[in-house]
Symmetry: C2
Subunit: 357 residues, 2 copies
């Protein structure tokens, strides 16, 4: 144990040890990557650091490397601060946890708010000026930058576990059982440093989300405290606000289903968040993915206006329960004009998808 | 068949007959009940009639008999029109599809908006003046009224079915099988005139809701058209906007569980609709009911601010799937600060309820 206030080191014995070292943002080691004005977001302090830099230096041009949740949320935040914002994304479409057809709906909104999206471009290096960032270079262009946000994802921070010879698995995340015990006696692990079991693919996965970390913390606390609790696994349920749109996703997306060698059908519908005659009724698009022949629900995605995102939970619970899309048609979902059309958009998507089985 | 335009009657043969006669509002036969200015709401026309009367006669004092969905929605609508509104409810609390502790949260809001709630009072008669309503008399008081809304519920309109000797069941609703066939060959029935199977109590029930009618219409259409579809049953999922609050309910409430002879525990928590630091975070109260010992989810109720009501669907799907409240704790529900606290309020309620098993 190192005392960070005075640098003192000492050994501390334990009866039960919990490893909760979290994740580290991936920072590619390219020329200029240690320049001032480059930020990565992984905790409260790193967020505060960006905010203080923006307040103090009033940068005008921001480049964000990576078009996932963090990258796009930061794009919105920096546009709100009046900056000229560019996002570089290696893949053909931003927001890679959605299928490209759904993510394209978000990309349109992001661009409509003035963000320059450079897709299918790879980040190559940073140009500097007196040790401070001046521009970001991709394989296709050079973009002037006063501030750069690195948002290309995280990796489990498992150096400590590796040194202690605690077995690591998928993406070097710590292997734990359902009670969140590592393979070493009396050592537990939870959060962004552990491997999870994917309840739909039934394979190990690595999904770094605060929801999972919180639930896992409870499970370890219960187990160490003498109760008995298990963490069954994850489905990658996530939601995000993107300017005037909201997105949600759960389960497997098309590329993951293909990687598993499964065949699927999908149904996408566009409906409204409220009864059509209601003043603020907004558009909502729902996509469901189901296994061919069996109709087993495999995943779902939502993009829509206010009131759309949390509807992903309906799909997440259906996925948890292993229902078919045919069964989902008659789920007793709620209706009142201020809150939903009489056919809930999720049920409408189930009808479309079931018709393709 | 009677032609309503010219009164002509004729016989029309059928290959398949669908009875969709709906429901009729219950209108107690008390003195004065045929006076002008008394309305009941059951279809679009009856709603338009009230609106026209309000526009034309500008009534100042409204009395609503019945404090359920329709009664309270009408109270809000008439308060919005600047009227002085009273609601008479026979039971100790309004909104009888919620447990009284949850309904009390709504009652407070209804009263704060100026509605006079007279609970535990029975409607006795109407006083008239030249054939028009003048006041409503309860067992405790006389309330001046320019307009009266009768909102004490509906009953299935099954006179036609009874005359045709089609067997009726619970509350004289038409008995149908899962394909929505009546007990008479080639005669089908759907909507507010049929008896439903309650998926939680596993007993016949009568729940007149537009959602159910819509889903049933699809099932009959598919079956008559040569496809095969079933309607498994209902759980009484319903939501409603009440001034600045929203409510949702699904499954069994306390009194229904007691009537079944089951024992239960319940957990009620108050949380927020968004992360606590988010500007518009509103209060949300979630109550779950679970079977004692087994922990099987039996029902759920929500009362809260904007963004609360549709969360009942999460509970409805869990109920459909037959999960325990213990299992609900780890459901992979979504989180992002603009949409939810990191522990979804439904999961928090599951924790509370599971701890009481």
């Amino acid at each position: 144990v190192i005392n960070l206030n005075n640098g003192e080191q000492r050994w501390e014995s334990y009866d039960q040890l919990v490893i909760a070292t979290g994740a580290l943002p991936i920072r590619p080691d390219v020329p200029g990557s240690d320049a001032a004005g480059i930020y990565a977001l992984s905790n409260l302090e790193s967020g505060i650091a960006v905010k203080e830099d923006v307040d103090r230096k009033k940068p005008q041009q921001a480049v964000i490397v990576g078009g996932g949740y963090i990258g796009i949320e930061m794009a919105e935040a920096l546009v709100d601060r009046g900056m000229d914002v560019s996002v570089i994304e290696m893949a053909p479409e931003i927001m890679g946890t959605l299928d490209p057809d759904m993510a394209a709906l978000l990309a349109k909104t992001v661009e409509r708010h003035g963000v320059h999206l450079y897709r299918e471009e790879s980040f190559e290096k940073i140009e500097t000026d007196n040790g401070a960032v001046r521009a970001v270079v991709t394989n296709k262009r050079t973009i002037p930058a006063d501030i750069v946000i690195m948002a290309i994802g995280v990796r489990p921070d498992t150096e400590l576990a590796r040194e202690a010879e605690i077995p690591l698995g998928f993406k070097d995340a710590i292997i734990v059982n359902d009670r969140l015990q590592t393979k070493v006696a009396n050592v537990w692990a939870a959060g962004d440093c552990v491997q999870s079991f994917h309840l739909v693919s039934r394979k190990p996965t690595y999904i770094a989300l605060g929801t999972v970390a919180n639930r896992q913390g409870r499970v370890i606390g219960a187990n160490i405290g003498g109760d008995y609790a298990v963490f069954p696994g994850v489905m990658g349920t996530a939601i995000c606000k993107i300017f005037d749109l909201e997105m949600g996703r759960t389960g497997l997306q098309e590329k993951e289903i293909r990687d598993l060698g499964l065949e699927f059908v999908s149904g996408t519908i566009t409906s409204l968040t409220q009864a059509e005659y209601y003043p603020d009724a907004g558009k909502i698009t729902v996509k469901l993915l189901a296994e061919r022949k069996t109709g087993r629900l495999l995943g779902g995605q939502i993009v829509g206006e206010r009131g759309s995102a949390k509807r992903i939970d309906t799909i997440a619970v259906a996925l948890h329960a292993g229902v078919t899309v045919e069964e989902m048609i008659n789920l007793d979902l709620s209706y009142a004009p201020p809150h939903s059309p009489v056919w809930d958009p999720v049920a409408t998507a189930a009808r479309k998808t079931a018709s393709m089985i």
